[in-house]
Symmetry: C2
Subunit: 462 residues, 2 copies
């Protein structure tokens, strides 16, 4: 019998490192026990991968009412049903499973369950994000306070629970400022306020929208929103060329309270606050990357995170200043992790578990960030608002051919679009509403970003 | 939250009621927790069904060595790897899982794990086959002793562990007699000895063959073989027509030590001891069915079975005598259960769990056997030895069209054959070596059995 494989517990839910990359890469070296607290949050494809690569799969049983409860579909973007378990109940479940399966580490890709995973790990004396660190990472108001208490550039902010708070915040911060839900992810609900005339209506709409985004009962933020000064970036100063977004993200590892950067990801410009593409890994010069790494270190260490993956976003400000946007105690979403893994030849999911099970040296972690990408890969989504010829709701009939916009040194590795006849609402605009997806590859990052911008500028909906 | 569904634990392995019918029909009313003690015994299709309809799936972790351990295939007929867990270890695992998931009943379709399931149920004070009953049902020597101590017709028998025992048995029983492994299933290794000249060679071959059939370490029979008097049947006396096999099987339920017959299944003649078809449900007259039911009641109650499904086989002897062949503390294999369910409109898997969870009345159970089938369905397999034109090993190239042998009032519901180019060994002959499968349906049982015999008599291999 093969007792050399350690058992790890994955709280399986939406988000973070995608399932197609996560489970198999961990199962190569570890036995996965998967706990599914919200069966309705798991797509069929995700479920198949969980089942294929886990030695045990436990779903929260209270959701099974009749035979139709066992049907899993692929159209889950945000888990809309309720999860009525307290933090303590989720923690106790994780502890029970950990004891039963002799678990050596617990992890999750889902923002909303980072805290119970950290608390359970702590109670079991396993390495984890740490109860305090997880709480700070999951509450954008607490997070900003930590950031502002570190050596990183201060970003003025204010707690907001209601319209009155918002009016006070607007006076203190001035316009424009942004308002973010403190407990969500994927830029959901992030709103720019440009002047006082729109305060009330926009706030009411935002309240209504975030109320539709159910979160588990265990999520208890210190306030609903945080108002923050609006940071204006300047990407051309950083990149020396036009076309890149004015922000980056950086993947990292916390090990025993110390931050190790492991990859910086460039972007193309956002639509509002919705991301459009990630380019793995960054083409920025070493001295500029150093500034980003420094800010990420301040950010993540300020939260008191102990052992976890991190995904930190920051604005590239004028005069090479770095403005922290936010961080998360998990890897980044979309295909950032698979693509970074491809260009750097590193198994990031395994790396995280190695850290949690004390199976990796500080020296190895220190050297990762120095790796040069073999090539550049972009994970790129098209939205309805990219359509040159669209300014209203439409029934999707496909996209016009884009091959003329793709540079010769750029290869399309994958292309996928949503089913034809899907009804698209022009104003329903979030990261979930992508209509098409490209994976592009090139030896030249500039050429990649040019191609992305070219497609976005010229795309026509049929 | 829906707390009205009880949790039941299924020890999932090969055999018994087929997966395509079992899991879904239980999941309609109960939450299934599946424990897989031998991951190598589960086909991919079986695994997919387990995952789809279970609220939790736990595989025995010690079999996972590397990423290839997670690959499941469909070519599993007998689980050939070792399962090195003692009865006590399997029982303890079942108890641990039962406590964790608040299990109300434990069941299995696999012969080889009937005993640990019964012992664990007993220790948990759950309804089950009973430790003594399960032991008797799993050891064909103990079983025959129980049968012979009941009011059923005695069948002379003798313990056999080695050639010396066999020689003694042959003298006591006379020729012909049969020798059966005490702990296997599917007629595996059942051998007819016709005279003393073949004793030694046949026995050595048989020993070699059964040694290839690995069983879990928890299986501990009182002796390896049982020698029994050979029963000669007379089907035409029972059926009044030619063409039926000279034996039947009867599905039953034990509830609190009392036997309830729930369906009798007719057969076509065997090839050696390998079954060729089942016809659901029996066309025998009520008075003849009564004799079968009576023998089944003697048989199953004599074992001290408490609460379980039963599958009992018996020979139809001359003078309307019934000769017990054997019984099992689980439902029958092949499609007996799905087909019986179809013709009688009864959800048999659910019925079993209803019994185990005290959710069914005696009166309901008493009335099942009186149900008349809506139609007759047969589950019919073709073997290499059926081939008129075959008497050696071949490479399978398909079967000649058989439509001319199918009566007009017989419908082919399903037909399937093994992949072309499969190498078939003429002497490798067990229930696993079916080359084609028919599901036939008719309002007329006689016509069904005629069709089966017609196909078998005339089938040609390409």
């Amino acid at each position: 019998m093969f007792k050399n494989r350690k058992n790890i517990l994955v709280l399986a839910d939406l988000g973070g490192c995608p399932p197609h990359y996560f489970y198999e890469n961990i199962a190569q070296n570890y036995n996965i026990v998967s706990y599914i607290p919200r069966p309705f949050a798991i797509t069929k494809d995700h479920f198949d991968l969980i089942n294929k690569y886990s030695i045990a799969v436990i779903q929260e049983e209270s959701y099974f009412e009749n035979i139709s409860s066992f049907t899993k579909t692929n159209d889950v973007y945000w888990a809309m049903d309720e999860h009525n378990f307290s933090l303590e109940e989720v923690v106790n479940k994780l502890i029970e499973l950990s004891k039963m399966f002799n678990i050596q580490a617990i992890t999750t890709n889902n923002e909303l369950f980072v805290e119970p995973v950290a608390v359970a790990s702590k109670k079991l004396d396993l390495k984890g994000a740490g109860s305090k660190g997880a709480k700070n990472a999951r509450d954008k108001f607490l997070m900003r306070q930590c950031f502002n208490n570190s050596k990183a550039r201060t970003v003025n902010c204010k707690k907001v629970d209601d319209l009155n708070d918002l009016i006070i915040a607007s006076k203190e911060l001035g316009f424009p400022f942004i308002l973010k839900p403190t407990y969500l992810a994927s830029s959901l609900g992030v709103t720019l306020f440009k002047d006082s005339s729109e305060l009330e209506q926009k706030f009411n709409e935002l309240k209504k929208f975030v109320d539709t985004l159910t979160v588990p009962k265990s999520v208890k933020p210190s306030c609903i929103f945080i108002a923050e000064e609006y940071l204006v970036g300047n990407s051309s100063e950083w990149y020396g060329v036009e076309g890149y977004g004015d922000y980056v993200s950086i993947e990292g590892i916390m090990k025993d309270g110390q931050y190790y950067p492991i990859a910086i990801t460039d972007k193309s410009p956002q639509i509002g606050f919705t991301e459009t593409s990630h380019i793995s890994t960054s083409v920025l010069s070493a001295d500029k990357q150093k500034l980003i790494i420094e800010a990420a270190k301040y950010a993540n260490e300020s939260l008191d995170l102990e052992n976890c993956a991190t995904h930190t976003e920051m604005k590239l400000l004028p005069n090479l200043e770095v403005g922290l946007i936010e961080t998360a105690a998990r890897y980044g979403g979309w295909n950032i992790i698979p693509n970074t893994s491809k260009v750097l030849d590193i198994n990031y999911p395994k790396l995280l578990i190695d850290v949690l099970t004390s199976n990796v040296s500080d020296q190895y972690l220190e050297n990762i960030i120095a790796k040069k990408p073999k090539k550049f890969i972009s994970d790129f989504h098209i939205y309805l608002k990219d359509g040159e010829n669209v300014n209203t709701d439409i029934i999707f009939e496909g996209l016009e051919d884009t091959s003329q916009y793709i540079n010769q040194d750029v290869k399309v590795n994958k292309y996928d679009e949503i089913p034809k006849k899907t009804i698209l609402k022009y104003e329903d605009f979030t990261a979930f509403n992508s209509v098409a997806f490209y994976e592009l590859e090139s030896a030249n990052s500039n050429s990649l970003v040019q191609t992305i911008n070219n497609i976005r500028k010229n795309i026509n909906f049929k």
